[in-house]
């Protein structure tokens, strides 16, 4: 497809159903093209996008003085389009959720925080809001203070209505929010007959910390610090996405060496998380040998990170305009040797896992997400790649420095836990090779462009392929250069619903391994 094709096919599909759009604007939210839409046409344009084969990626809403501005991000062949519309206070925006399943939770989130109403939404239940604030208060609206005075202790959210089933032998199993392990909180409601899961329903939002509200009024450095804590396991990727959005908004470009260093950090983050998860997946089916080996490798990486970057998780390294810490030139050669040794060791271990029939027996055909289901949900990252959706921003919509490198994207169609684990293993290999190339070609020069936020309104989009998949970040600055709107869209928003589907027909005891194979972020999703 040519560069204009995603836009072209959307416009053609719109013309076919008689929908008018405004003049496309390729400049205000680069690299995406903004397509202005009338609020009344919001759903019909989404239908056109569906028939044009575009993927629904994100929705965010910005409160204006008298109403809202709604944004919807679409993607096709690595080209991004932003539908943008103004919504009056008393106007309902036609829902996308009946057309694109992925829109369901983001719309409910937007309603819970801002009060915007989506017409014809298939699911009218609250999502992010539990019982901490009343139904009539929308905390992200500017008139509501960050810290209200009248707060009493919040009660448990016991009135949320889950899907129910009746029949002989049907049992309901509530799990969480506190789980039996060292993991984040969330609620899972199983409907089961014996061991077999009929249905799984998630109820998330337990770790909602008001990140979008906390961002308002911050300066660029403060925003980067907050973004680094959207999801601690993706600290590099989220802070990079926020800084990229800030940099695109202000036109301040980080020097080449900083971009290379960011990619080095991001690849190390991907490798560490994939390594940890492969071990944990094996551990969940009782293969503790792998857990021992992979957690050992992960710890080595954390220690090397501490040595090289001063932090085991590489937190707060990516800052507006560059990075905080350079790599000591003496370290380059040992780092290359370490990456080389790690690649060999991981390959050796993976070969061993592949030899285990019992592992194969437990992981293959478990937690299957078919390619059709994956496409319907619009999943991303390794969850998508294991089910036939081989999208990777680093290859398909490359941002610097990935535009200088070839990125191999593994892909399978089996969609089971084994396929997701295999994708992780292959991505480790790809990342280690990338890491070698990045280290060998590290440009010289400064690591940070001096930052001063211009005092004028601006907006920007950050789009980074984190280890979980596509991260989208929208930042708008006010006329003082302070943050007016920050929306980080973790890939988990798109991948959590896949876990519900893949559990159907599986057994309850396989839930931990299925959950681990998806490893959605609670914090990144709940915000």
């Amino acid at each position: 497809m040519s560069r204009s094709s995603a836009l072209q096919s959307l416009l053609e599909a719109c013309a076919l159903i008689g929908v008018q759009t405004g003049p496309p604007d390729p400049r205000s939210l680069v690299p995406a093209t903004v397509v202005p839409v009338e609020a009344g046409d919001w759903a019909r344009v989404a239908e056109a996008a569906k028939s044009a084969g575009l993927r629904w990626s994100a929705l965010w809403v910005d409160p204006l003085e008298a109403g809202f501005e709604a944004f919807c991000l679409l993607e096709g062949d690595g080209q991004y389009l932003v539908l943008r519309t103004l919504v009056a206070l008393d106007q309902a925006l036609p829902s996308h959720a009946g057309i694109h399943a992925a829109a369901d939770r983001p719309e409910r989130h937007a309603h819970d925080l801002l009060g915007i109403i989506f017409a014809n939404a298939p699911d009218g239940r609250r999502w992010t809001r539990h019982q901490a604030w009343p139904e009539t208060r929308f905390p992200l609206l500017p008139e509501h203070p960050l810290r209200p005075e009248d707060q009493a202790a919040s009660v448990a959210d016991s009135s949320y209505v889950f899907a129910a089933a009746q029949g002989a032998g049907v049992v309901e199993i509530p799990v969480g929010p506190i789980h039996a392990g060292i993991i984040e909180p969330g609620h899972f409601r199983f409907l089961a007959v014996g061991e077999t899961v009929l249905n799984l329903e998630q109820h998330l939002g337990y770790v909602h910390k008001g990140i979008e509200k906390l961002a308002v009024g911050r300066n660029a450095d403060g925003l980067a610090r907050l973004a680094a804590r959207v999801s601690g396991d993706s600290t590099v990727a989220h802070s990079w996405a926020a800084c990229q959005a800030l940099e695109r908004a202000t036109g301040i470009e980080p020097p080449p060496r900083a971009l290379w260093l960011r990619a080095i950090l991001a690849e190390r983050e991907r490798i560490a998380n994939h390594i940890g998860d492969i071990g944990a997946i094996c551990n969940d089916v009782g293969f503790s040998f792998a857990q021992y080996q992979f957690s050992r490798l992960r710890e080595q990486l954390a220690r090397d990170n501490l040595d090289a970057f001063g932090h085991r998780l590489m937190m707060d390294q990516v800052v507006p305009g560059g990075v905080t810490r350079d790599i000591d030139p003496d370290r380059i050669v040992p780092m290359i040797a370490q990456a080389d040794a790690l690649a060999r060791e991981v390959r050796q271990l993976i070969a061993l896992l592949e030899d285990s029939e019992s592992l194969e027996d437990r992981l293959m055909a478990t937690g299957r997400l078919t390619p059709e289901q994956a496409l319907m949900l619009g999943v991303v990252g390794y969850v998508g790649r294991a089910s036939g959706l081989a999208f990777d921003l680093r290859r398909d919509a490359p941002y610097p420095p990935y535009d200088q490198f070839e990125v191999t994207v593994p892909s399978y169609r089996a969609g089971d836990v084994a396929a997701r684990a295999r994708i992780r293993a292959e991505e480790i290999d790809v990342s280690l090779r990338l890491l070698l190339k990045l280290l060998q070609s590290l440009p010289t020069g400064p690591i940070r462009t001096p930052w001063s936020t211009p005092a004028r309104p601006a907006e920007g989009l950050g789009m980074i392929d984190g280890w979980r998949g596509e991260i989208i970040t929208y930042v708008r600055l006010d006329d003082q250069g302070r943050v007016a709107r920050f929306f980080p869209r973790d890939p988990s928003w798109l991948n959590w619903p896949a876990l519900e589907l893949m559990m159907q027909g599986n057994i309850v005891p396989d839930f931990p391994v299925c959950n681990k194979s998806v490893n959605g972020s609670y914090s990144g999703h709940d915000l």
Binding site: A153, Q293, S295
Partner: protein, 167 residues
């Protein structure tokens, strides 16, 4: 099967013995001594993420990796607060987790200790108090020991455990 065994044995050679990490070792032995004396050899910890970004969880997980292997010192993580001597709480307490944290604390038998792990748990950290967050753990349940750090490293977590014994 034989091939797997052979490979396992060979991989056993690949496995380095946990390096002699003197700080971990020294702290661990001290923790073990205290656990033997006060808890008859076993300290049961129930971890509760009350709103963390998941950074602290990664480091608490690391306590169980072969480098630190805290179980050898008698520390183990349990699934139920009813089995726990100690609650290890991370994160600012989100208001959506407030009731669950309080219930977990009430379910923990006396005498019980609470450790607030990580900067957010100690003082609210980056998130503080808001419409969505209660801030520090001590704003919701009584806290005995605070372990700062964003996130605290496994070694700092071990030091924090020791501090709990020295109270």
């Amino acid at each position: 099967m034989l091939r797997i065994l052979i490979k396992s044995i060979r991989t056993g050679v690949v496995t380095e013995p946990p390096p002699h990490d003197s700080e971990t070792e020294r702290l661990g032995i001290e923790v073990k001594r205290q656990i033997d004396r006060r808890f008859h050899g076993a300290l049961a910890i129930r971890h509760v993420d009350a709103g963390s970004c998941n950074g602290c969880e990664l480091e608490i997980h690391a306590l169980n990796n072969p480098y630190y292997d805290v179980e050898r010192f008698g520390v183990h993580f349990v699934a139920s607060p009813r089995h726990a001597d100690l609650l290890l709480v991370t994160g600012p307490v989100s208001r959506h987790m407030e009731a669950a944290l309080r219930r977990a604390w009430e379910a923990t038998p006396n005498p019980r200790w609470v450790i607030a792990a990580g900067s957010c748990a100690c003082d609210g950290g980056e998130f503080g108090i808001s419409y969505a967050s209660c801030g520090a753990v001590e704003n919701v349940i009584p806290v005995d020991v605070r372990i700062p750090g964003c996130p605290p490293t496994p070694t700092v977590l071990l030091q924090g455990l020791l501090a709990a014994f020295e109270r």
